[in-house]
């Protein structure tokens, strides 16, 4: 069984209005934040898939549903 973390975030160059709002408030609070971007973090368990197979399935899930390739990038991390 593999446990997987899939992180999806907007591509560079795609403006993130929600991230800009959060950054604005953090700066108002006194934190000198720059380049804040909001992403999505998906955790899942995949019984019966290990290592390379699990990574391949994670990438397939991200490419076909979890991320939109026009807007977003993703990373897949597998822990067996």
């Amino acid at each position: 069984m593999s446990r997987m973390n899939i992180v999806v975030h907007l591509k560079e160059g795609v403006r993130d209005p929600a991230g800009e709002a959060v950054q604005h408030v953090l700066r108002d609070m006194g934190f000198p934040v720059e380049h804040l971007r909001i992403g999505r973090h998906i955790t899942l368990e995949l019984p019966g898939a290990e290592g390379e197979d699990a990574v391949r399935l994670g990438r397939e899930m991200a490419e076909h549903l979890l991320a939109n390739p026009v807007l977003e990038q993703f990373s897949v991390e597998v822990r067996s």
Binding site: R15, A18, L65
Partner: protein, 225 residues
């Protein structure tokens, strides 16, 4: 011939679309998203709303509903599909149309009346380039972002753009080139953010949406009932 109107879990303009089509009048067939058959319809509307609660991304989960296979077969056989607002998002998420719809630059749910202008006539449909419609928009994710790997101008075109009352370009949500609607170049697939079904009676604020739907249904060969 009939127009199918799909209901996804979270659609909220399906009944409005059926009602608007009945005012043309055009025969409609309501279709649940789990169905794999469009009930003999020659065209289909994917209505507005919040399919699957917009979870993950607007339209992303609905793009994988069983009915989308039937929509694909209909379009391949020469039928037509019109995606309105959330329906447009479903059409981009499912790859029928290029690009994506992202959160409005304003961060607001934009709910207002806009003018849209036909930028390009489409084969088999009686929309004239330059023709304008006054329609309401109601969306949080209406900012069109083009797909560099599928640029508009080839298999798909910029069909509708936002205008102000004087006809000048207007941009309520940060959309690329004031884009309000995209169409496949053959006219079989159209997606737009504004809601024609919400402008289908004078007491709703205007009838331009009814005019838009009437033109579209003429193209689909829908019979008057």
């Amino acid at each position: 011939m009939k127009v199918a109107v799909v209901t996804f879990p979270g659609s909220n303009c399906d009944r409005d679309a059926i009602k608007a089509l009945s005012r043309i009048p055009v025969e409609t067939v309501p279709v649940w998203h789990r169905e794999t058959d469009l009930g003999g319809a020659s065209a289909v509307i994917l209505p507005g709303g919040f399919a699957y609660g917009d979870y993950l991304r607007a339209g992303a989960l609905a793009a994988h509903s069983p009915v989308m296979g039937a929509v694909r077969r209909l379009v391949d056989a020469g039928g037509r599909v019109l995606g309105i607002c959330n329906g447009f998002q479903i059409l981009t998420e499912s790859g029928f149309l290029p690009g994506a719809l992202a959160m409005n630059i304003s961060r607001r749910f934009q709910c207002e009346w806009v003018q849209v202008q036909v930028e390009q006539a489409l084969p088999g449909l009686p929309f004239a380039a330059g023709e304008r419609f006054s329609l309401p928009i109601a969306n949080g994710e209406g900012r069109y972002i083009p797909d560099p790997s599928r640029p508009l101008g080839r298999d798909a075109v910029l069909f509708l753009s936002y205008r102000d009352r004087a006809g000048r370009p207007h941009n309520p949500n940060g959309s690329w080139r004031e884009l309000a609607g995209v169409a496949r170049a053959d006219g079989r697939v159209i997606g737009l953010m504004p809601h024609p079904e919400r402008a289908s009676a004078r007491w709703l604020g205007g009838e331009d949406g009814l005019r838009f739907l009437r033109l579209w249904t003429r193209g689909v060969g829908a019979s008057v009932c």
